[in-house]
């Protein structure tokens, strides 16, 4: 689903002393089939932005277009149809599990949208998130944290969304769980051609998985591009309270201490190892 924000402004509690401008004349595009990361420190407008992607919030001014849907300040009757196509994975989605069994939990969404789900589809989605079929009859509350999160994600994937919006999907998982989760989204993106919007603080994930990156600051897009290009603006990113991927940070420190400058162009660690080793032995990289 192509996403276009045109002059989108969002104001919380307008005309009150608590009035707060969260999005300020926002303009950007996310092409269908892309994997876009949105970064920004707390309060930069990220959460407000993603709540526009399935109509949880309506723009105070401007237009949001998603696929064939248009969202403005006016009430939109097609909102339910949009929500069926946009899967939202909020932070700690496992907190939203509530049914007696995993199966019932996964089928709750389809029930709301009057969608029939075959057993085959159910098994497919369980397999997709890396769980075993036996889990369907268990109570979601007896599962480990990582399993719960997979169930919560399965309950979103069962509706076969065209756009998947992920808000800090790996928060609180251990490193292996984080990696598996990101691999899962990356696979969905590649194989099922789902458009992915990822909100995250994990810059390593942005570098590894996203093909486009938006930096939000004060409700506006302050930088946009391929992650590797955006991360060139190290000083600016730090100044607005964001992290730099560790590999870039290391190369910067190495240059500062030793004078050895290796520009980062997305080299694998193997290649970096070779360059640095050459410098250690021969005196130049």
């Amino acid at each position: 689903m192509d996403i276009t924000f045109k002059d989108v402004t969002y104001t919380y509690q307008p005309n009150t002393p608590f009035e707060h401008l969260a999005l300020n004349q926002l303009n950007f595009q996310i092409p269908k089939g892309s994997f876009t990361a949105i970064v920004g420190h707390t309060g930069s407008g990220k959460s407000t932005l993603i709540q526009h992607l399935n109509g949880l919030l309506r723009p105070s001014e401007g237009t949001v277009s998603i696929g064939g849907f248009e969202l403005t300040n006016e009430k939109n009757k097609q909102i339910k149809a949009l929500r069926k196509k946009v899967g939202m994975v909020f932070q700690y989605p496992e907190h939203q599990l509530f049914e007696e069994t995993v199966k019932k939990d996964i089928l709750f969404g389809p029930k709301n949208f009057d969608v029939a789900v075959s057993d085959d589809q159910l098994l497919k989605v369980i397999d997709m998130v890396g769980l075993e079929p036996e889990i369907l009859e268990r109570s979601p509350f007896d599962l480990s944290g990582g399993q719960k999160r997979r169930v919560a994600i399965a309950s979103i994937l069962i509706l076969e969304p065209e756009l998947l919006v992920l808000d800090e999907p790996t928060a609180g998982l251990d490193p292996l769980g984080q990696k598996q989760m990101m691999e899962l989204f990356s696979q969905l993106h590649r194989k099922q051609d789902i458009t992915v919007v990822l909100v995250t603080h994990q810059m390593e994930d942005v570098l590894a998985y996203a093909n486009q990156m938006l930096v939000l600051e004060n409700g506006r897009v302050s930088l946009k591009g391929k992650p590797i290009q955006v991360f060139q603006y190290k000083d600016y990113l730090r100044q607005i309270g964001l992290d730099i991927p560790e590999v870039i940070e290391f190369l910067e420190y190495l240059e500062k201490e030793t004078g050895l400058a290796i520009p980062y162009r997305g080299q694998a660690l193997t290649e970096l190892g070779t360059s640095i080793a050459k410098w250690v032995k021969d005196g130049d990289a």
């Binding site: 480990s144 251990d174 490193p175 590999v247 940070e249 193997t270 070779t274 080793a277 250690v280």
Partner: protein
């Protein structure tokens, strides 16, 4: 300081022991990092250290005192805990009230309370936030206040139960810096439970749990040297260890396993200067 003798633990809902015959000693003033993936038993182990849980089998000693129903309250004064979720551990309406909470429960005289609160906020670098409302603080700041609250009680041990897990990377760095600083200033035993090896490299000693048993015990250096088998425990070797591997493949020999950026660059510079 803390000693486990043949400790096993089983949750009543389960048939399997989550901890199996654990023996370990943590000395006064040590910083021990307890590592393992989700479900390895590390949080259970921490909860046994101050009697939130009692062993199914075996014994736990704190300062030589056997932990049981009678000694648990006394022992909790010695063993403070900082929990995972920064949102869940606030009771006061201002930072200062919050830090005071534990002291009020201990009936500490007002003057002493004030000096302890000031001291504690100073160590975690939050003096300027004294009168702030906690909900306005960032995650990292909230955890620093939680540490101040524990410090004010003057325990001998602080357990950090995945205190950095829910923070964003900058919050995590901020908290780690605070922890290092507190260690410099106070002679306190630290037990930090984590799955972040970048945090564990700052500890004196590392214990890795796997499937309820101790899989590794030793210095962070030795652990990183085992990095290939490390993957099997669900932990990810830090960037520095991965790059060190690549450098070794290219014929670089390190005097000792580098732990962090500064350490690695320093060793590389020395090697470079010798050629």
């Amino acid at each position: 300081m803390i000693e486990f003798q043949g400790v096993s633990y089983r949750y009543s809902s389960s048939e399997e022991n989550v901890l199996k015959d654990i023996n370990l000693k943590i000395a006064q003033g040590d910083w021990v990092a307890l590592l393992g993936h989700n479900g390895s038993g590390k949080s259970t182990l921490a909860k046994l250290m101050n009697g939130i849980l009692m062993p199914t089998k075996g014994q736990v000693f704190v300062n030589g005192v056997l932990l049981n129903e009678e000694t648990v309250w006394e022992i909790r004064h010695e063993v403070g805990m900082v929990f995972q979720n920064p949102e869940n551990q606030f009771v006061g309406t201002t930072v200062i009230d919050d830090v005071a909470f534990g002291l009020e429960n201990m009936a500490i005289p007002r003057e002493e309370m004030e000096s302890r609160i000031d001291e504690s906020l100073k160590v975690v670098g939050m003096t300027d936030y004294k009168l702030q409302e906690p909900y306005r603080l960032s995650g990292g700041q909230k955890q620093r206040i939680a540490i101040a609250g524990v410090l004010a009680m003057m325990p001998q041990v602080i357990i950090f139960d995945e205190a950095t897990t829910m923070l964003d990377p900058s919050g995590r760095k901020e908290l780690l810096e605070t922890m290092k600083y507190v260690r410099e200033k106070r002679d306190i035993t630290f037990v930090s439970i984590t799955h972040d090896l970048n945090e564990a490299v700052w500890a004196d000693r590392v214990i890795v749990l796997e499937d309820g048993a101790i899989w590794f015990e030793g210095t962070p250096q030795t652990l990183l040297e085992k990095r290939e088998s490390l993957q099997s425990t669900g932990l990810r070797p830090p960037f520095v260890a991965q790059l060190t591997d690549e450098l070794r493949k290219n014929g670089i020999t390190f005097e000792q396993q580098p732990l962090h950026h500064k350490d690695l660059v320093k060793q590389l510079w020395t090697l470079h200067s010798k050629t």
